[in-house]
């Protein structure tokens, strides 16, 4: 094809992902060091094993393998009879041993798939494999990058945190799909209880992106392997969220299309996603064929896992739960969706729906609670310790002790903004049913006892209402809110 012809062709975007996910385990994958690294001083969560000291040996943390098998179950992957570890040999200053213990010919998961919804459509992406490996340490370059810095500090706290590398088939056709897939992947991992999205570096994404002639895309959306192999692709690194992935890949797809339009060839290279500038930048590294010299890690005997898939249970996953919420609680699609995005929200909803009206609870959890949290940039995890208070609030509404309006505008907001207890707010603000009944009684009494003032009011005499307010205030010992009293009086007088 001439360059001219190539320029004029329509192109389809082809994207495949390598997603590194930190698995939540108490201890690292090959030693007993804690993985709770939040606020930890550098190099304090280390031992001879994760520092790679001479003579230290890895011992497999089976909890990491269990987590991986659960993922395998969730993505319907096949689990091998035996899983094995290999050494991936390469030199880099964040690697304590200058090799990474990883998996090669017997990854823990193979041939899975993940379904997700994008713009109302169901899509499925193939998971070629998912394997376990150890996280390297982290580097801080002082005054530049690794080549230009004055010096570089190494922190080995992260070294040995269990990582799962999920490799997809090149099944994505645009950046929106990638984002939806990643959100779904996070959702599933979160449901399995093996992932903490709030942890720094918990999700790291490398993406391969290339363009192929639309003519080469078959009707069912597949593309021939040879065509894919021939297309020059770029590897985009340094993506750390699903939002970032969408932006980075939309940018990269456009960049490649522009290059082709101008008659230039897309260079096969590695590019770095610069989040702050919103562009991908060539790493300008000579793309040598990487040779990791994989070979068996003899220090770790093979592990029999053939029965694990059967033996390990996984919780109901988001899709199934969403469907059940519709059937069991009569919720609409949108509410069921909102209530099942995280397991914690779904569990909380079901807890409440067992006691109170499921519809009312759905409104309160899906709209009011999540809405107010979202507005404050918070998540359910931020009010984890106060779920009983929120339950009390829902109880107050369900038993009509307070009005929905007050519950939302005064109590919930007060709880989130000031950290107050719902009963305390109700008391302080006089929102309780008993208090309202008393006030109503005082208002009726004042009207009955002061027929002159009532007729003055109806004659349009401005002072009359103030007199009546004063009377009510007296009856309630001054505890009522004058504004509320005013409002109640007018309502009563207008009847």
């Amino acid at each position: 094809m001439t360059a001219q012809a190539a320029q004029e062709r329509e192109h389809a975007v082809v994207i495949g992902l390598e997603v590194h996910v930190q698995l939540e385990t108490d201890t690292k994958i090959f030693c007993g060091c804690s993985t709770d690294l939040e606020d930890a001083e550098s190099n304090t969560h280390t031992c001879p094993v994760c520092l790679g000291l001479p003579g230290a040996l890895p011992v497999l943390n089976e909890a990491a393998v269990e987590a991986a098998v659960r993922v395998g179950k969730a993505i319907d992957a096949s689990i091998p009879e035996q899983t094995r570890f290999h050494r991936k040999n390469y030199y880099y200053p964040d690697l304590p041993k200058n090799f990474q213990i990883s998996q090669y010919d017997a990854p823990i998961c193979q041939d899975g798939e993940l379904e997700f919804t994008v713009e109302g459509e169901r899509r499925s992406v193939g998971i070629e494999r998912a394997h376990l490996e150890e996280d390297p340490g982290s580097l801080t370059h002082q005054g530049g990058n690794i080549d230009t810095a004055d010096y570089t500090l190494v922190n080995y706290n992260r070294a040995g945190v269990p990582l799962m590398e999920v490799v997809t088939e090149p099944d994505f056709r645009d950046a929106t799909e990638v984002r939806a897939f990643l959100a779904k992947l996070e959702e599933v991992l979160e449901y399995l209880g093996i992932f903490d999205a709030t942890r720094d570096g918990s999700l790291r994404i490398d993406a391969n992106l290339s363009l192929v002639d639309v003519e080469e895309v078959d009707e069912d959306g597949t593309i021939d392997d040879d065509v894919l192999a021939e297309a020059n692709r770029t590897e985009v690194k340094n993506i750390s969220s699903h939002k970032g992935a969408e932006k980075a890949l939309a940018y990269e797809a456009q960049r490649q299309k522009n290059a082709v339009k101008r008659g230039r060839e897309v260079e096969q290279e590695t590019r770095h996603w610069d989040e702050s500038r919103g562009i991908t930048v060539s790493m300008r590294s000579k793309e040598e064929e990487k040779d990791y010299r994989y070979f068996r890690e003899a220090d770790l005997p093979p592990l029999e896992v053939s029965h694990w898939k059967e033996e390990l249970s996984i919780p109901e996953l988001p899709d199934a739960r969403r469907e059940r919420f519709g059937e069991e609680y009569g919720l609409n699609e949108e509410a069921a969706s909102k209530l099942t995005t995280t397991k914690q929200v779904a569990d909380f909803y079901e807890d409440l729906a067992a006691t109170f009206d499921p519809d009312l609870v759905a409104t309160w959890v899906a709209d009011e609670l999540l809405g107010e949290l979202n507005y404050r940039d918070m998540a359910i995890t931020d009010v984890e310790g106060r779920l009983d208070e929120i339950e009390r609030l829902v109880e107050l509404v369900a038993t009509e002790e307070i009005t929905a309006k007050n519950a939302r505008e005064t109590v919930l907001r007060g709880m989130l903004d000031d950290g107050d207890d719902p009963d305390a707010i109700v008391d302080r603000e006089g929102l309780g049913k008993t208090q309202r009944d008393e006030l109503q009684g005082a208002v009726e009494e004042a009207i009955e006892e002061n027929p002159d003032a009532v007729s003055d009011y109806h004659d349009g005499e401005g002072g009359a209402i103030n007199f009546l307010v004063g009377q009510v205030m007296q009856k309630t010992g001054g505890s009522a809110d004058p504004g509320d009293v005013n409002e109640l009086l007018r309502a009563e007088l207008e009847e």
């Binding site: 001479p54 011992v59 010299r293 770790l300």
Partner: protein, 435 residues
Amino acid sequence: MSYNAYITKEPIDGADDGPLAGRTVAVKDNISTDGVRTTAGSAMLEDYVPPYDATVVERLKAAGATIPGKTNMDEFGMGTTTETSNFGPTENPAAEGHVPGGSSGGSAAAVAAGEADLALGSDTGGSVRCPAAFCGVVGIKPTYGLVSRYGLIAYANSLEQIGPIAPTVEDAAELLEVIAGQDPNDATTRDATDEISGRTPDDDIRAYTFADAADGDVDGLEIGIPTELLAGADEDVVETFWDGIDELESKGASYHEVDLPSVEHAVEAYYVIAMSEASSNLARFDGVRYGRSGGYDGNWNETFARAREEGFGEEVKRRILLGTYALSAGYHDKYYKKAQDARAWVKQDFDSALEDADVLASPTMPVPPMERGESLDDPLKMYLADANTTPVNLANLPAISVPAGETDDGLPVGLQLVGPAFGERTIIRAGSALA
């Protein structure tokens, strides 16, 4: 005179009592000792002081042993003469002017010279048995998985075991009793009670007791003698070997010849596997935390290269380069994979030979101790000297080297007895009839 058996002499005291109380056990300098520098014979680790004890060191201390110091060795265990040490060669106390064997030459020399009652070495392809043979003492290479490697600076981790060196078989067995047994820090250690095998399995391995097997009783012992392991040996050595077999026969043992066709490829397979593993095991020594760091021009990659160029000796560099090559794309199948196939074949050969024999006997080394400096210039000659010891590591089996006598020139000759997996008691019993 000084034999230069030690790299570091810094006594480490053990518990007040225990089975080794009052005895000194010298420890090879690739076995980590908390607070006492551990060099593996290399300039790269000249200043490295481990913050932890190897499991075997913990066990020695708990058994009441005193560790008088850390013994000399070929750099990272890569040698058969202890001449590749960065800390100078070790003299052979049993044959002065000759090498003590390697790579645990310091440990064997310390025992032979009486500078320690007992010693620990490590055996990747003969590194305990060779120096034991050359220095006229006893050395045991245990079954892979009997003794913890936690804290042993790896050379070739799928092949090596820590083993005892002692004046007598009984002493060696006592030391083995202290260091053997499963270790939660080494996933390759195995429960011997599940693994016992062999023609006449000795149940007492279940208790991990070894010393009581050194009773010299070889009545009814069936010895297999692999003809291949005699073919390449010096005449002098073979003659002394047969003296040893005669003695066993006079005590009630009998022998027959066996074929081990696979051993022809053992040395090649051994070196490909050992060097490949070494290229990876030694990658961590990059100047950041070990060896000379900083002061070099260039980026991190160039800095790593300079630190490694400066910190490693010739033989280590040779093996890392060959190992890297053998694992490289395009060569991996031709070398590394083929070597693994050969390893499986060797294992099979030994297992079937051990169906009709309790032990397999051969000279430990095909040659008597070389004169110092003789083999350094010819690495291939040095590698071929491992012909009889390396197959045993490939097969993961236990073996003992006991003194069989001396050549006409008065040089020590060792006799090697190989047993079935976890058949330590069998080789100890057989060996104790000679030493």
